[in-house]
């Protein structure tokens, strides 16, 4: 039963990490637009805004 000494804190710690992650996500506005997030996931766009010089040139083929 000595195993409890580290298993219980481990279980609680993992739970707290999950909770902290959720709080961070909430604070950073990840839950502001749930419907939009669903669409963004399947969008084929690059999310990052492109630098202004890029845009007309064709993409380099993958090597």
């Amino acid at each position: 039963m000595e195993v409890l000494i580290y298993l219980v804190p481990l279980a609680l710690g993992l739970g707290l990490v999950g909770l902290a992650a959720f709080m961070w996500a909430l604070k950073s506005g990840q839950f502001e637009d749930l419907d939009g997030a669903a669409w963004r996931a399947i969008g084929d766009e690059d999310e990052a805004p492109r630098p202004p010089t890029d845009g007309d040139g064709p993409r380099a083929p993958p090597h």
Binding site: L12, G15, G18, D35, G36, W39, R40, G43, E45
Partner: protein, 725 residues
Amino acid sequence: MTRDYSHFIRHLDGGRARMELAVDGITCGGCMSRIERSLRAVPHVTHARVNFADRRVAVEWVDGALDPERVIDRLAELGYRAHPFEVARAEDESAREARLLLRCLAVAAFAAMNIMLLSVSVWSGHVTDMTPEQRDFFHWLSALIALPAAAYAGRPFFRSALGALRQGRLNMDVPITVGIVLALGMSVVETLNHAPHAYFDSAVMLIAFLLAGRFLDQNMRRRTQTAAANLAALKAETAVKFVSAEEIREVPIEAIRPGDLVLVRPGERIAVDGVVVEGRSDVDQSLVTGETAHVAAAKGTPVYAGTLNVSGTLRVRVGAARGTLLDEIMRLLDRATEARTRYLRLSDRASQLYAPVVHLTALFTLLGWAAAGASWHDAIVTAIAVLIITCPCALGLAIPAVQVVASGALFRAGILLNAGDAIERLADADTIVFDKTGTLTLPEPAVVNATEVPADVLALAGRLALSSRHPLAAALARAANATAPIDGAIEQPGEGVQATIDGVSVRLGKPSFCGALAEAAAMAAATPDASLIAFARGQTRHVFAVRQQLRADATAVVADLQAQGYRVEILSGDRASAVEPIARALGVAAHRAGVTPAEKIARVAELRQQGRNVVMVGDGLNDAPALAAANVSISPVTAVHLTQAAADAVFLGQQLAPVAAALVIARRAKRIMRENLWLAVVYNAIAVPVAILGYATPLIAALAMSGSSILVTANALRAHASKGT
């Protein structure tokens, strides 16, 4: 003239400016990426992000480098109507409330899951070889998680319960708070005494279930508020303000202050309440008084927001109107709002009955066991177990869950709720009082005989009408779906528009201007209550009759309501000759014309005195007091601000059907709320005897609690369907 959007722009640190826009027409994910890509391609725009759930776009740019109008123009080119908006205080607050509930829910759910992990070990330990020391250790661990979690996540309930008690009322949160506090307190004492049972899991699980219901409820309300704010923003109400003696600028209505001088051109809606200081015109006050005949306005005449300036240019001093219709209506509205009895919601009524019964049962359990010779400790533990098992988990969810599902159904049917208890009040209604103008009829007049005129004539007349700002011309242009104005068309103020096409003269305007007096006389005889506009091309003459038209489905909806047993009445501020044909067409026997705002209230009060539950449906400023005086009220989204604020719900679109749908959905929702309350009663009838006899172990409490919550939530989902019985 450029528009002034400075009112809506926030200046951020780092030399950037930010504006939020409500956008009409975002329907799918494709729209999102199209808008974001196009806006980011506009020079100096640093950030553009669509919020799909709220149908809004946030744009940031280098401050001073970009005219915000370019953003709106760019969206218009893409086919989206957009307008900046100001976040209302109420909306801001409910967003904060929703975030708080979500944080509490996360903490409670985390705690509930971890405690359950420990509890399951303890429960299985009872039948295996767990030592009492290990059990105590697990109980202490549970306490370590449960106490801070409950203190944090239970705040919404504790606060609401304290608030109610301070006002000397009982609400659902009072028994909830009592149950949670006692369950936690007893569990701590039991753990100290090395007892086998602790109820930390039940207490925290209860908090988590109830928070889930509350969060969904809050979220639904926020969605409604957002949609309403977008609609208000997209109306894009502006006024032309004199910024100096000579100079004018178009500014959003939010930036207008009392004392400002505004210019109102013919064909424009007057956006403010005020007094005419210069100019002469006819004003269409139908949106305000229900009267469709025009009123003459000259220096000193009070004018109201929402009215339409028909013929001449006016200068209006804002907010200076005294002793006018507006004052009278504000006085009546205040009195009606004061006299309004607070509606006792079903959940409050249930908890007023429920809390004393439960608390008395617990007390009798305590006394009963003590009298039967049990130790005080055992008697108290059993009594608290009764409280825990009856703690209204199902009851606390029974009504909010239905509320959420029903407001969702209403939202899809085109009804936005202003008041939280409107669903229950709608369900009780048995009498419907309609205003006529703008409610049974469409707010904009329409051409009656568009189909009787050759299509090419209608198209040409519509194109010519685009060159005039007269409301009759606007109606004609709408009827013809005209988009291309005719080059070289000249408007002769007060007469009409003329142009020359391929050497043939075409004219649109007064019958005398077009030489169509004979045709106009014939048309006037056929449709006596319509306004006429004539069209002439060469020697051919046509006369169009324009008047307020019934909403397309008004007849069917009114007939349907009457068939369902509702008493339907029409109370209109318009003259009898305009009301009677409409009442006849709708088959409504009870109708009154020329009714003043005070008389509308009086009639509503009279109906209520007869024991009727009145729904008032109206849009005019003159309806606002009656809306507040009725049991429940609905107004169309085109109604003036004051009226919409007085109404419990707002319906969208050109049809009257949402009103009927609202009644159906509300009735079904209330029936399901009652069913849920009965389910909770049945659950208690089974669980309470078990608890009184002392068999309510934490395992049984946990099973009973989640079982009953799932049952009422599943039943609430039946309120989802928007059609059928």
